[in-house]
Amino acid sequence: MRFIFKTDYGQDINLAKHGGHVFWYSVLLLMLLAAPWLFAEYYLAQLTFILIYAVAGLGLMLAVGFTGLFSLGHAAFLGVGAYTQAVLTNAGLPFPIALACAAGLSAAVGLIVGLPALRVKGIYLGMATLSFGFIVEEVFARWESVTGGNAGIHIKAPDLFGWKLGSGEAFYFLCLVIAIGATLAILNLLRSPTGRAFVAIRDSEISAQSMGIHLARYKTLSFALSAALAGIAGALYAHKLQFISPDQFNLLQSIDLLLMIVVGGLGSVHGAFLGAIFLISMPQAIALVKDYLPAAIGQAPGLQGVVYGMVLIAFVLLEPLGLYGRWLKIRTYLQTFPFYRKGMFKRQKTYQKSDRLK
């Protein structure tokens, strides 16, 4: 068991709490840097997808996990980012400027959708974002002069001021840099007063308001930041796939994103990454196991849906804190070895009330 002896106020908000953090995260970083030489091209592409989804997950985590704003339309922000990037890149803009525009436009759209968020809460915000998702999907399909309609749109390789990032390795490093940047930004945000205000709003709106937090401003800010991150992820997604069409940004994608952060663990930055790993590796795992199952089950087309549904139900029922929560429990068990008690992570019960009656 490790005891941290605090000698400085700064230690409370340090990103790395102790030497162990520094060591293990450095190892992880080195592994990620060496990945192009360690893995085959196919697995590198999967790793790139994990990073992209993790960025989107961080965005969604900020809104759902840290501010308590329920969003069923994040695929729409992903789509706004992807289409902005595609259109601007094809118009010849360099990658960073196009990325900034994609993030900015997503954030602006997020602000607009966030407006009802100021007045409604809980499930009604989910409805608003759901409606918004349908609208955006339809706009992508109908605005053919810009988006290419249902036929989709091709996108050129990213262009970093004359330096073409055509290869898989170069793009992997680009994604890695952006993912690390986004993670650090989120971590930094969460230890700042703004981030604390978000968490306070999640835990209780009334007490947050009593503490002088401007609910409307912080909720909108959170939603806009979340949308901006989703937009960045969308831009990367567009570059990775090199082809986007409206049906990649439908309701199922939004639900996949939600599933990702719930499985990863709501309210933890690790959760976004663990969830992304889950979401990307699950289809592969199913494909691997398929051959060993009886043909009636293994070859059935609905298998993936059933597995996703089962995993989601199992996590909500048995491990509401997700994969990261499971890890926390194992770690606590090991750290306090003979003294782990069953009730250590017991949650307080909250009984359901109608959201209409504030």
Binding site: V64, P116, S131, A300, P301, L303, V306, I313, P320
Partner: protein
């Protein structure tokens, strides 16, 4: 709050189909049995998955129902030979026409499609029944109470757990009726559950928990949808309901007939 409603609808339609095609039930028996079966399924579902997470935030229930929806869709698709195809539900009133006002070819004849009349008629009857249930019966009022504040309802001696089971049974039965009504129009297939999502905006527009609100909301949505399909360019028809919902949430966040109430600390 359930996101599996559309899937329950789909299961109901498939249930009707199965009991008619495989067990050879006559139409009415098949309808009744699939409604009853779905009600039972709803109660079971509540007992197995929803009840263990009683006392946790609404978000968990939403995710749980999404998971149930995924599973239901996947399982139906997995049934070999049935799941991936589109079916028609044979109904006795298919392609029948009521003529009011004499000759078919004469001017001023009102021709009504029985299929659509059946939908309208049964919806109206269902709405009235539900309205009566929630307005006048002890059970309905208890359901309303527990939806507004579970803990308070519990303190007043309402058996919230048992009630929740009944609510889920009722919801599943209603979904099955909706599925059976929809089946002749849209055909039966594994993804018909997505149509159920269209119902959400209507419910929001009227305000959850207010039955007249939901009906008026549904009427508004339907009217806006068909009018915008007629007057506005192509494509607006599909998004108009959602635009209405967004505006509604911004302007009247408490719903059409929602009451303005504030929690006092």
């Amino acid at each position: 709050m359930s996101f599996a409603q559309g899937e329950l609808m789909m299961l109901g339609a498939f249930g009707g189909l199965a009991s008619m095609a495989m067990l050879g039930f006559p139409f009415w028996l098949a309808v009744l049995s699939s409604i009853a079966g779905m009600a039972l399924f709803g109660v079971l579902l509540e007992r197995l998955v929803i009840r263990p997470i009683l006392g946790q935030p609404a978000f968990s229930i939403v995710m749980l129902t999404i998971g149930v929806g995924y599973m239901a869709r996947g399982l139906i698709t997995m049934i070999p030979g049935i799941g991936t195809e589109t079916h028609t539900l044979p109904v006795p009133y298919k392609d029948m026409i009521w003529k009011i006002g004499g000759d078919v070819n004469a001017q001023g004849t009102l021709i009504l499609n029985v299929e659509q009349m059946a939908v309208i008629g049964s919806t109206a009857v269902l709405c009235l029944m539900l309205f009566a249930l929630f307005k006048y019966s002890k059970l309905g009022i208890a359901m309303q109470a527990s939806s507004q504040n579970q803990l308070a309802a519990y303190y007043m001696g309402i058996p919230v757990k048992r009630l929740n089971g009944l609510v889920w049974g009722l919801a599943a039965a209603v979904a099955a009726i909706a599925g059976l009504l929809l089946a002749p129009i849209t055909y039966v297939h594994a993804n018909m559950g997505f149509i159920g999502l269209k119902a959400f905006p209507a419910a929001v527009a009227g305000g959850f928990g207010s039955l007249p609100g939901a009906i008026v909301g549904g009427l508004i949505i339907g009217t806006v949808e068909s009018l915008s399909g007629f007057y506005l360019p192509d494509g607006f028809k599909d998004i108009a309901p959602y635009v209405v919902v967004l505006i509604m949430l911004m302007v009247k966040p408490n719903g059409l007939f929602g009451e303005k109430l504030r929690k006092k600390v």
